[in-house]
């Protein structure tokens, strides 16, 4: 039976000169990386450019990965720093955890969501739209926990925080997401519950 090579196996082969093996890493993590980037960067074009840059940076610094943490944890630290650098360059608001995006953006999200929902009628579309309404920090922490399969300890390493602080921030982010869903999508939530 053929099993897929582990991250460590791929990395050691890439370091030995088998550059093509890196495609396995890209295939494996592209959706995670792209989702995380898209939570922080507004446009898909920018997100794709940043994600591509992240994989190139990761490749160039691959020798620095010591295997002390999961490869994904190491990769997400690059995602975070790259997104922050990109946002700084674009002079977008990135730091405040409590600052939510301005109201017209919410309205735009809401209207685009409603159009989207008519077509898709999916829970996923609703959650994704609600996450987009959160601040970058909240969206990042929720995505890392639910989508990137990172533990509180690993998230602490990525975000440079103590696991207890991560726990508090995650709780607050979930609280805010719940509020957003109740405020903007209560009708849809009820509809989905009845389906």
């Amino acid at each position: 039976m053929h099993t897929a090579p582990t991250d460590t196996e791929i990395i050691s082969r890439v370091l030995k000169g088998e550059q093509q093996m890196y495609a396995h890493i890209v295939e494996r993590y592209q959706t995670y990386v792209f989702t995380l980037v898209l939570r922080m960067v507004e446009s898909r074009e920018d997100a794709e450019e940043v994600a591509q840059d992240i994989f190139v940076k990761a490749y160039r610094s691959l020798a620095d990965f010591r295997g002390e943490s999961k490869f994904s944890t190491w990769l997400y630290t690059i995602v975070r720093t790259s997104c922050i650098t990109f946002l700084r360059k674009k002079k977008l608001q990135t730091t405040s955890i409590d600052n939510e995006k301005i109201s017209f953006q919410i309205k735009n999200h809401e209207s685009s969501f409603r159009a989207n929902l008519v077509e898709q009628k999916s829970k996923q579309a609703m959650v994704n739209e609600a996450i987009k309404m959160l601040s970058n920090d909240d969206a990042e922490i929720i995505t890392l926990f639910y989508k990137a399969e990172q533990s509180l300890d690993e998230m602490g390493k990525i975000l440079g925080l103590e696991p207890n602080n991560v726990k508090v921030k995650l709780h607050r982010a979930r609280q805010r997401l719940k509020e957003k869903m109740e405020k903007y999508f209560s009708h849809e939530v009820r509809e989905l519950q009845n389906d």
Binding site: V26, T31, A51, R174, L177
Partner: protein, 205 residues
């Protein structure tokens, strides 16, 4: 904490004086809200499985016996399931190909630890520590400790005029200092350019 209590007491006093019934009602509502927040946090920890066994059994019992807890638990569980079900976004179909084309231009950089020599870093640190200590020792050796009066507990500081700074602040010394810095700067620039040239040559081959 003391400040919060003091503030709360003052607010309570004002509130009671103005409108006692309304104020008591407000305090009760805020109290219930805070309690709800705390319970919600406990429930989230229960859902995430980040609590110890005793807390877990206590919450299980509360969910089983208390309708309010049961409803809240199911509500949060639903939110949790919704969040877990959110989809991952996919980049364009050409994404992997683009990355592979991009990295074909580069080589994996050597590990940082291989070119940062700890001995050199330690040596630079040691040099500065020795310099600082040397200056301190020299400075203290130039101080003469004398008592101004018999009543004074602390000795007065008299820095002798043995160390004459004006000797070093003349145009000749300043020019020599600038010249040394310029030479060092040019040497550094030469080293950087040499390294860049080598890297460029490596890429070409």
């Amino acid at each position: 904490m003391k400040y919060v209590n003091y503030k709360t007491i003052n607010k309570l006093k004002d509130g009671i004086n103005n409108s006692p019934e309304l104020y008591i009602n407000k305090i009760q509502t805020e109290g219930v809200y805070m309690n709800e927040q705390l319970n919600e946090e406990r429930l989230w920890n229960f859902i995430d499985g980040t609590i110890d066994a005793s807390e877990k059994s206590a919450i299980e019992q509360l969910i089983a016996t208390n309708l309010e807890w049961k409803n809240k638990y199911h509500e949060l569980l639903e939110v949790n399931q919704l969040m877990s079900s959110s989809e991952l976004e996919s980049p364009s179909m050409r994404f992997t190909k683009n990355v592979m084309e991009d990295i074909a231009k580069y080589h994996v950089a050597p590990a940082t630890r291989s070119y940062i020599n700890k001995n050199i870093v330690g040596g630079i640190g040691g040099f500065f520590i020795v310099m600082i200590l040397g200056f301190l020792i020299y400075g203290f050796s130039q101080i003469t400790w004398t008592n101004i009066s018999s009543e004074s507990i602390l000795p007065a500081l008299n820095i002798s005029k043995k160390f004459d700074f004006s000797k070093f602040y003349n145009p000749t010394y300043v020019s020599i200092f600038i010249m040394i810095n310029v030479v060092l700067g040019l040497m550094l620039l030469d080293m950087v350019l040499e390294k860049k040239k080598e890297k460029f040559k490596q890429k070409e081959f």
